[in-house]
């Protein structure tokens, strides 16, 4: 019996064949913490008696969740991160650099075949470039910083074959939402998800990140794709590290193999308060919205802003709606400026905020009022997620969010293409 991508990556790290179910201690190639999790990791590092980070070149701390700081308490936690980074010589991405999950691949920290841990659940994102990357808590991050390694249970995998061709106005976000709806919020708990099929091949690397990002919304430990020519091309010039791509064997053993024909898929919307409560856009069209958000680790990349700008060009955001745009990184912002995308978004009425997590986690940049509806390109719509438990969050693609911002109500983007 052959091996899955996850089994291949773990086997390569250990120098022996390992299979799902085995408990192993492996070297971690890169590790990351953000400003909601790093302070507790620094405290845990000290509690462990840690003096020096094992290999500072394999660590990055990112200030993205509350950046710039809205409160003195947050400012002091940010200062703690800056102090630790300076003392230990680890990389720090400070206010304005962007969201951790956009930055790590963009800055060349992650390559195919890596094992990466991040103290943030959406660390599954780098599975799109064939890295076994998974979210951990602060104490696990501290242990990895201290020892350079961590224990894992090699996960079983579930294979999703995504067949067909996506229609106009349908994007990787719609695929990610559709799969969350089909598999449900715990449909892949403890499992690695492997995505394959011609839909994956047809997508850009940026678009693939959106799908792997949301693997965790099905409970998955990782959301893996193969490193094809597009991935290798995307990596060139970004990194000096050598990739070690891992492909599954044809006779690999999966918990389950599921096929989805996505040719007839339309735009999808997750409705409050569950990511797996997903409906075709037609079912919720006309729902009034007061806030619209484009950005986050799911959909704040250049292509996402470009799609939104295409819809907003020559149109105006409804006077009833606040449209908040948060580019996922400084590099995304710079490229979007060069291409005139920011000009078009702001002319249409968008409010641009600092590259980072934006209003997604309820810390700043657009907390909704009681009873308001928000449509967002983020990955979670839990009650209270954006800082107000009396607000309602809908999740959709950048195109659907842009179209809805123009109309003042949830709108099928295909009407505005």
């Amino acid at each position: 019996m052959g091996l899955t991508i996850a089994e291949k990556i773990f086997s390569a790290h250990l120098g022996r064949e390992v299979r799902a179910g085995e408990l192993v201690v492996v070297e971690v190639d890169f590790m990351m913490g953000q400003d909601g999790t790093s302070p507790l990791a620094i405290r845990a590092f000290e509690e462990m008696g840690g003096r020096r980070v094992r290999d500072p070149s394999r660590v990055a701390l990112v200030i993205d969740h509350s950046a710039p700081s809205p409160l003195e308490g947050v400012s002091n936690l940010h200062a703690m991160m800056r102090r630790f980074a300076a003392e230990q010589g680890v990389g720090l991405y400070d206010v304005g650099c962007g969201v951790c999950h956009c930055l790590l691949p963009e800055q060349g920290h992650v390559v195919p075949g890596d094992i990466v841990v991040g103290a943030d659940s959406h660390t599954t994102t780098y599975g799109a470039i064939n890295a076994f990357s998974t979210g951990v808590g602060s104490t696990d991050l501290a242990a990895a910083m201290l020892s350079g390694s961590l224990w894992f249970k090699v996960p079983e995998s579930i294979r999703l074959e995504l067949r067909g061709t996506l229609g106009p106005g349908v994007y990787s976000k719609d695929v990610a939402l559709y799969l969350a709806g089909r598999l449900t919020a715990d449909g892949a708990t403890y499992l690695a998800v492997e995505y394959g099929g011609e839909v994956v091949s047809s997508l850009s690397v940026e678009a693939r990140f959106t799908i792997s990002n949301m693997a965790v919304e099905m409970g998955a430990k990782a959301g893996l794709m193969e490193a094809d020519d597009k991935v290798m091309g995307w990596l060139s010039g970004r990194t000096s590290r050598a990739p070690r791509p891992a492909s599954p064997d044809p006779d690999a053993s999966y918990r389950e193999v599921l096929e989805f024909d996505l040719s007839d898929l339309g735009p999808q919307v997750a409705v409050p308060h569950r990511v797996d409560d997903v409906r075709p856009v037609e079912e919720v069209e006309g729902t009034p919205v007061q806030e619209a958000v484009i950005g986050t680790c799911t959909n704040g990349r250049l292509e996402d802003l470009e799609e939104a700008a295409r819809i907003l060009a020559g149109r105006r955001v409804s006077p009833e709606v606040r449209l908040v745009v948060a580019p996922a990184s400084r590099q995304v912002l710079l490229r979007a400026m060069e291409k005139g995308i920011i000009q078009r978004l702001v002319e249409a009425g968008a409010a641009l905020v600092t590259p980072g997590c934006g209003p997604c986690v309820g810390t700043h940049n657009g907390v909704p009022a009681d009873g308001e509806n928000v449509i967002s390109t983020a990955n979670r719509n839990f009650k209270g997620r954006m800082g107000n438990a009396k607000a309602f969050i809908y999740l959709a693609s950048p195109a659907t969010v842009a179209a809805s911002a123009v109309a003042g109500k949830i709108t099928d983007p295909r009407r505005m293409l």
Binding site: L23, V24, V25, D35, G36, T37, P39, L40, R43, A44, E47, M48, G49, H65, S66, L71, G73, V74, L77, G118, A119, D120, S121, T123, G135, V136, G137, S138, T139, D140, A142, A143, L146, S147, S149, L150, W151, K153, A185, D186, T189, Y190, G219, K221, R274, V361, G362, T363, V367, R380, F382, K383, G384, R385, G387, A389
Partner: protein, 165 residues
């Protein structure tokens, strides 16, 4: 380790935002302060009702959502002795053990609000004293049992200097 207390029952998919909202958790490392908001969006009265040694009992996928370790920490600081659920989200499960909060996977469907439970982690059994029933728990891997026995990963690593599988 035998624990005894009352059950506080919640449903499926209790996510980390419900355990401790993002609007609080980014501000401070004072877990006693954060614990005042534990489960607030699901049951604003929970922190007043819970007594030291009580249990949170839930359905499937407890702790889904973010990787925030504040989630198991505020549960612990609210006085909860263990969380029992049909299943757990994996990051929460690891975080709880790393912070010394026992997590028990078992069939929780028969447990009702206020039931008196006795959790025997060593024996792997939960006795529902109110209903006279006994539940088997899914055993933890030995490495997790060892981490829990030391009271968390920091103490475990101080003692052992690394992971011992």
């Amino acid at each position: 380790m035998v624990l005894r207390g009352k059950a506080h029952v919640f449903g499926d998919d209790v996510n980390t935002d419900y355990i401790i909202s993002g609007k609080y958790k980014f501000k401070t490392l004072d877990m006693d302060e954060l614990a005042r908001h534990c489960m607030e969006d699901l049951d604003p009265d929970f922190v007043n009702k819970v007594r030291p040694g009580d249990f949170i009992v839930a359905g499937g996928n407890f702790g889904c959502g973010s990787s925030r370790e504040q989630a198991p920490l505020v549960i612990k600081h609210a006085g909860v002795a263990a969380v029992l659920a049909r299943s757990f989200a994996r990051i929460f499960f690891r975080n709880a053990i790393n912070k010394g909060l026992p997590v028990v996977e078992c069939d929780t469907s028969g447990i009702r609000e206020g039931d008196e439970l006795e959790v025997d982690l060593g024996a792997g059994r939960v006795a529902n004293l109110t209903r006279g029933t006994v539940l088997e728990m899914i055993p933890l891997p030995p490495v997790m049992m060892d981490i829990l026995r030391e009271g968390g990963l920091a103490a475990y690593l101080r003692k052992h200097g690394g992971f011992r599988l």
